[in-house]
């Protein structure tokens, strides 16, 4: 019996090693292709940044498209272009690497599936980045505007807006990745519907007096503001 066990272990080890040996050239080809594209991308991004700096691209952009800086305050436009080029080459490197993996190994099921799925991953990553940046920008805008309007619940409002955008982004990303699309749609619908219903019930039943007092306060504030101001800022 022990002989049979030993034999089966040997044969399974042999099969595993054989499979690994078949995959190794493909993995190596994937790594080489990725590194090559990373290197080219890095060099090209560096060259483009230098050229853009030489032609004064940042100054021109700050004059002609000032709102761009609002979305990417920390990065100069030339750095942003450099990064976009680098990450484009990275994505291309992954795709070429997967093709090389397919060519270097006899297995083509995995690479075919990955190649087909790459556009979904790229799209989802773009959505995630846009959603996160948008959530941060909008929530900060809401926070500052609410504070300047003297709203005591400014932070709550800002956090609410941020999470609303993040949840929406998460749902869109999962939908784009084809992961549990029915559950995501259902969950998202229930969550948002629930929030709206809860707010409607809270305002309609529980907080009726609170809302009316708040509206009265706002109305009286408008009346106060219509009186001539005693402080002139300009």
């Amino acid at each position: 019996m022990w002989n049979q066990v030993e034999q089966s272990l040997h044969s399974s080890m042999g099969r595993a090693m054989e499979s690994l040996a078949r995959l190794l050239p493909g993995i190596l080809a994937f790594i080489v292709a990725l590194l090559l594209f990373l290197f080219i991308g890095w060099i090209l991004a560096w060259i483009v940044r230098r050229i853009l700096a030489a032609v004064g691209f940042d100054e021109r952009m700050s004059r002609t498209a000032p709102t761009m800086a609002d979305w990417s305050p920390r990065l100069a436009p030339s750095q942003l272009v450099g990064r976009v080029i680098f990450w484009c080459f990275f994505t291309a490197g992954v795709m070429v690497g997967v093709s090389a993996f397919e060519a270097g190994s006899t297995e083509n099921v995995v690479s075919g599936w990955i190649l087909g799925y790459v556009p979904h991953i790229v799209g989802a990553a773009v959505l995630l980045v846009i959603g996160t940046v948008l959530a941060r920008y909008v929530s900060r805008s809401v926070l500052i505007a609410a504070v300047n309007l003297n709203l005591s619940y400014a932070r709550l409002l800002s956090i609410g807006v941020r999470w609303m955008i993040l949840v929406l982004t998460g749902a869109m990303v999962l939908d784009h990745l084809d992961l549990g699309s029915n559950i995501v749609e259902l969950g998202f619908g229930i969550l948002f519907g629930g929030i709206v219903l809860a707010l409607a019930l809270a305002v309609g039943l529980g907080s009726r007096d609170l809302v009316s007092r708040s509206l009265e306060r706002e109305a009286s504030r408008v009346a106060e503001e219509q009186q001539p101001e005693r402080v002139h800022h300009f």
Binding site: P66, D70, S141, A145, N148, R155, S158, V231, H232, F234
Partner: protein, 419 residues
């Protein structure tokens, strides 16, 4: 020639007029009939020294209206009314429209080779003989390149100017001018050409930045004299639908923009020089009871509670500690030190320049701090006479000048120097 593009029609009209000694321009649309009546009355009271001069009264007409030039029949070379069409659309923002019209008037004066140009606000509050005489005297007799107004305002008026614009402009460019952004000012012919030729910067919203005549004079014509004249004029500034934070962002953002574009100049300026002043200081009406500072303090405290994530990106830790200390004070003890206020504005200017966060957010987050300073100022000024309040403003301006080395260090080495 000029960055200001006057319409072809306006140019033809100007060519027909030829030249002028003084252009008096209104920076905004006005009722033509009222203006003519008032101008004729004012011109009659100007005195004999003006009768030999050719004066052009110019004002922009609403879009589409045909400009009409009329010459006074009995004195054809003395007074010309010139309603001119102006291609730039007003943006609806308080100061942007005024600056655009001021640029147009200066461009017209340059076109007419005027010896002096007097720009007046659209509310016509300064359209009186005395202000015109003072402006003309300072430019034509005393050879000033630029003449700015010294308004007779109360202790609680013009606070954004007194708290930010005036001391910052003085610390940067070394000119002790009380109103660097004014509705009324006068410029010599040479200065009109410079101001009109200047290409306006683009602000955050894609519009033209505001006109800062003192900055242009200090940077492009440092040898020119900048004077001031006392004006017994009070402008009723209405921000329309814009709230305080929006107007503050517009004005302060524009000043920061100028600061960035003129960095090479102001970094070389040390100290400040007094500007010659003409005219008698008018008496001040009593200010009455001080305004209630509680809403301002509440705004400041609300800002501190909620905007810490933004302020932490802009302000250094010791400033945040000082602000925390202020929040713990009783309202009657609340006082923001001059040095603290100056360093706060310097740090916001740096954050605006370095794009530490969105420029719109930087400017928006300044409002609660400004209201804190306003509350502090009102509490302090309520116990002071007008003369003492003026001295106190001088002290504030000196504190800003003393903060300039800090601003310079952080401007040049933002990463190396961060207390």
């Amino acid at each position: 020639m000029a960055a200001i593009e006057l319409t072809e029609e306006t140019r033809e009209q100007a060519e027909r007029i030829g030249s002028a000694d003084i252009v008096v321009g209104i920076a905004g649309p006005v009722a033509a009939d009222e203006l003519r009546a008032r101008a004729e009355a004012v011109f009659g009271l100007l005195g004999p020294s003006f009768t030999s001069l050719h004066i052009v009264f110019a004002w922009p007409t609403p879009g589409g209206e045909t400009p009409v030039t009329s010459l006074s029949a009995d004195q054809p070379t003395a007074l010309t009314f010139f309603p001119f069409s102006f291609p730039v659309q007003a943006t609806g923002e308080l100061w942007a429209g005024v600056s655009a019209q001021q640029r147009a008037v200066l461009g017209l004066a340059a076109q007419l080779n005027a010896r002096a140009c007097i720009v007046l606000g659209p509310d016509l509050a300064a359209l009186h003989p005395h202000p015109l005489q003072l402006f003309a005297y300072a430019v034509l007799e005393r050879q000033c390149g630029l003449v700015m107004p010294l308004y007779s305002i109360g202790k609680y008026d013009g606070l954004a100017n007194n708290g930010i614009l005036s001391p910052l402009s003085r610390a940067l460019y070394g000119k002790r001018i009380r109103c660097p952004l004014a509705f009324d000012f006068a410029a010599s012919g040479a200065m009109c050409v410079r101001l009109a030729r200047l290409e306006p910067h683009q602000n955050n919203h894609g519009g033209d930045s505001l006109l800062w005549p003192v900055t242009v004079t200090a940077t492009q014509s440092p040898q020119s004299t900048v004077g001031q004249v006392h004006l017994d004029v009070r402008h009723q500034v209405t921000s329309g639908s814009m709230d305080l934070s929006a107007v503050l962002a517009q004005v302060v953002g524009s000043l920061f923009q100028e600061m960035e574009s003129c960095a090479a100049h102001w970094q070389r300026v040390r100290g400040s020089q007094p500007a010659p002043v003409w005219g008698a200081a008018p008496g001040h009406a009593p200010d009455g009871e001080p305004p209630d500072t509680r809403p301002m303090l509440e705004s400041f405290l609300l800002g501190f509670r909620n905007l810490d994530e933004v302020w932490r990106l802009v302000l250094p830790p010791n400033t945040l500690l000082e602000l925390r200390r202020l929040t713990k004070l009783a309202p009657e003890e609340f006082r923001m030190a001059d040095e603290l206020w100056a360093s706060i504005v310097c740090d916001f200017a740096l954050a605006w320049r370095l794009r530490t966060l969105s420029r719109t957010h930087v400017l928006g987050a300044l409002t609660p701090l400004y209201l804190g300073w306003v509350a502090s100022w009102i509490r302090e000024a309520s116990n002071l006479s007008h003369a003492e309040a003026e001295q106190r403003l001088e002290q504030l301006a000196r504190a800003w000048e003393e903060k300039k080395p800090y601003l310079l260090s952080r401007w040049r080495w933002p990463d190396r120097f961060n207390p």
